[in-house]
């Protein structure tokens, strides 16, 4: 993984989040939904990692598991030097101020019975010993920072537009001066003109406070705008992770290629050959053997049905998990992979 010199702020190793399925007469566990199945990535301080993928691929679950809103099944989540995957409740609570979250639906993520002031002050109530007056002042400052009128502090969330509500959510996430913010599709519920405002606000705040983002989205063009690196997820696994330019210019994994070819083209005269994927995403409760993408891949080979591909670096900083690059790869892992292939055959 990149940057060996400085320690990354966030380091996720082999994160697995499996949800049990109970069935039968005795409600015994009969299987599990592998929502996130062995995800690894690093995020350096001040960086934005975009996490893209289609609906149901485990992006949001991944984001929530990283903040320990779910208890992960397996893996290591190192944020600011501490492995939070195994922390007990007390230590985890003490660690909460470092990491915060911005939610997808700004309507649902704000308590309708609390005023804007109470919502933004909630993290302060929980983690600081500020006086009421200090909290008041801090809330006003945060409202300024996210571009909300101070005079609206006493109002309730239903009185605001979607974009304003998302600003309230962002102000709440900023209240404790976090280092790392998971943005879980923060723009998916907004209309296009407001999306740009919110994304620009997130960028401004990143510069101002030196924030690190995990930006979860299915909007590829928005991710291209905000992210420094992009990870593509399919069925609970990362299939490709690369710097922004490399990924958008030369996608390596067939799924990334298909995903990018689906981005709408504004110029009607300019037609690109789209890669249309056949079939549906397999159930995460019963993923296919071998490569997860083998059921829909346009360039599927025999080996894909048997062996799970491993991540390998194809260009500086660009990693993909695909058997297509087994022979062509001239990196250290290549002979190993070929050996693996031989063993299977």
């Amino acid at each position: 993984m990149p940057d060996g010199s400085t320690l990354p702020l966030v380091s996720v190793q082999n994160l697995k989040m499996h949800f049990p399925i109970h069935g039968g007469l005795l409600r015994r566990q009969v299987g599990e939904v592998k929502a996130v199945d062995g995800v690894s990535f690093d995020i350096a301080e001040g960086e934005t990692l975009g996490l893209v993928g289609e609906s149901g691929c485990g992006k949001s679950t991944c984001g929530r598991a990283i903040l320990r809103l779910y208890d992960p099944t397996e893996g290591e989540i190192r944020i600011d030097g501490t492995d939070i995957a195994g922390l007990n409740h007390k230590d985890l609570r003490a660690k909460r101020p470092v990491m915060q979250m911005v939610f997808q639906d700004p309507q649902a993520s704000l308590n309708p019975r609390m005023t804007v002031e109470a919502i933004i002050a909630e993290p302060l109530d929980e983690h600081t010993t500020m006086t009421t007056a200090e909290k008041r002042e801090k809330v006003r400052e945060l409202m300024d920072a996210v571009g909300l009128n101070r005079a609206f502090a006493g109002r309730y969330p239903h009185a605001f537009s979607g974009g304003q509500r998302q600003r309230i959510g962002i102000a709440r996430a900023l209240a404790l001066n976090p280092k790392f913010i998971v943005c879980d599709e923060p723009i998916a519920a907004l209309d296009v003109s407001i999306q740009a405002q919110v994304v620009n606000l997130l960028e401004d705040l990143q510069r101002q406070f030196g924030l690190t983002y995990l930006f979860i989205s299915h909007d590829l063009s928005m991710v291209r705008h905000i992210a420094t690196r992009v990870a593509v997820m399919y069925l609970g696994k990362i299939v490709e992770i690369a710097p922004r330019e490399a990924l958008y210019e030369a996608p390596k994994h067939p799924y990334t290629q298909a995903l990018l070819s689906a981005v709408p083209e504004p110029d009607p005269a300019f037609r690109t050959a789209r890669t249309i994927l056949q079939g549906d995403v397999p159930s995460p409760a019963n993923p296919p053997q071998g490569c997860n993408f083998c059921t829909r891949c346009p360039q599927v080979m025999d080996i894909c049905h048997k062996t799970e591909p491993s991540m390998r670096e194809l260009a500086p900083g660009q990693f993909a998990a695909c058997h297509l690059y087994n022979e062509t790869s001239d990196h250290a892992e290549a002979p190993e992979a070929q050996q693996e292939q031989l063993e299977v055959q």
Partner: protein, 334 residues
């Protein structure tokens, strides 16, 4: 409202409206006509039963044998036109059995109905309000605990099923038999039976509230603002008080208003069976039940207490409706 107005200069929007939350609640409550009338009626009845016995000082237990089975004074209207006025001025000589000494009439052993209604109102209202409060407290507590903490959900809900399956009257009968003596010796005969009845009704009527609250809490728990609070690190106790309880107020309010009615009526059923207050101790329920057998000749004996119970229940319902609206910021329009 667009984002442009939010980001614009804050000067045009004055933050002058700095009144408290309860001022807003009151302002919204005042706009609900039914709730205003309801609270007016309710407060009037409460004041009447509280202070009435000091003004109408007739002893509700005194048996005036010479004027048994008196009609109420309005029975004069049943006479032919010419005799109505004389009936009101000198009721003793009228063709109907009325008197100004007992304006609402007397019962079959000559006790004054007005005095009994006033005293009975005190007991019925106290039983209704206290039993409702106990049932509400228990129901809300158990509903929230079982909805919020998954581990105790099963046991608590089975407990609720158990209580629902218990037949109410035999249970109360057993309770009365077991505890009447002990409570009576500790708190006096009336105080003891009051505690017994209130607790009996309270612990046998919390189940619907618990189920409704649990259902709402289960739905609320999956809302994103609860997840957001968890990502902040809010502790369960604060989570319940700040995020869960305010959002389940509406069903609790509805249960409360219905609970008062049920409690008053259950108390009357108990008194009817001889399990409640002593027979000479008036409550609205007992007056109603005593009147039933004379309903043909003296319909007023059923109408007075029945109408009072209905009016109390109706006004409490309206108050609950208004309060529910007033406590919801979306309806309050802020």
């Amino acid at each position: 409202m667009t984002d442009q107005t939010a980001t614009a200069d804050p000067a045009p929007v004055k933050a002058a409206k700095e009144r408290g939350q309860w001022a807003d609640v009151w302002a919204q409550f005042r706009t609900h006509k039914g709730a205003l009338i309801g609270s007016g009626v309710f407060l009037t009845i409460v004041a009447t039963v509280l202070f009435g016995p000091y003004i109408w000082t007739v002893d509700p237990g005194y048996q005036d044998f010479r004027s048994r089975n008196m009609r109420h004074i309005l029975a004069c209207f049943s006479l032919p036109w010419g005799e109505i006025a004389s009936c009101f001025t000198s009721p003793d000589t009228a063709a109907v059995n009325v008197t100004w000494v007992h304006p609402l009439g007397t019962d079959n052993i000559g006790r004054d109905t007005l005095a009994r209604l006033l005293f009975g109102g005190r007991i019925s209202m106290a039983v209704g309000l206290t039993a409702m409060a106990i049932a509400l407290l228990l129901g809300t507590l158990i509903g929230i605990l079982s909805g919020y903490f998954r581990r105790i959900d099963g046991p608590l809900m089975r407990l609720t099923d158990l209580f629902l399956a218990l037949p109410l009257l035999p249970l109360l009968l057993v309770m009365v038999l077991l505890f009447r003596e002990r409570l009576s010796s500790a708190f006096g005969p009336e105080g003891g039976i009051f505690i017994l009845i209130v607790c009996g009704i309270g612990i046998t009527s919390w189940m619907p509230t618990a189920r409704i609250v649990r259902g709402d809490v289960l739905a609320l728990k999956e809302r994103e603002f609860v997840l957001a609070a968890r990502s902040i690190g809010t502790r369960p106790a604060r989570m319940i008080l700040r995020h869960v309880l305010p959002n389940v107020m509406s069903p609790i309010m509805v249960s409360a208003t219905l609970g008062i009615a049920t409690a008053i009526i259950t108390e009357s059923a108990l008194s009817f069976l001889g399990l409640g207050f002593p027979p000479d101790f008036p409550t609205w329920g007992r007056l109603l039940n005593d009147g039933v057998q004379y309903m043909q000749q003296y319909p007023e004996r059923v109408v007075w207490p029945g109408a009072l119970i209905s009016v109390v229940v109706l006004s409490v319902n309206y108050i609950g409706d208004g309060l529910r609206d007033a406590l919801d910021p979306r309806i309050r329009g802020l």
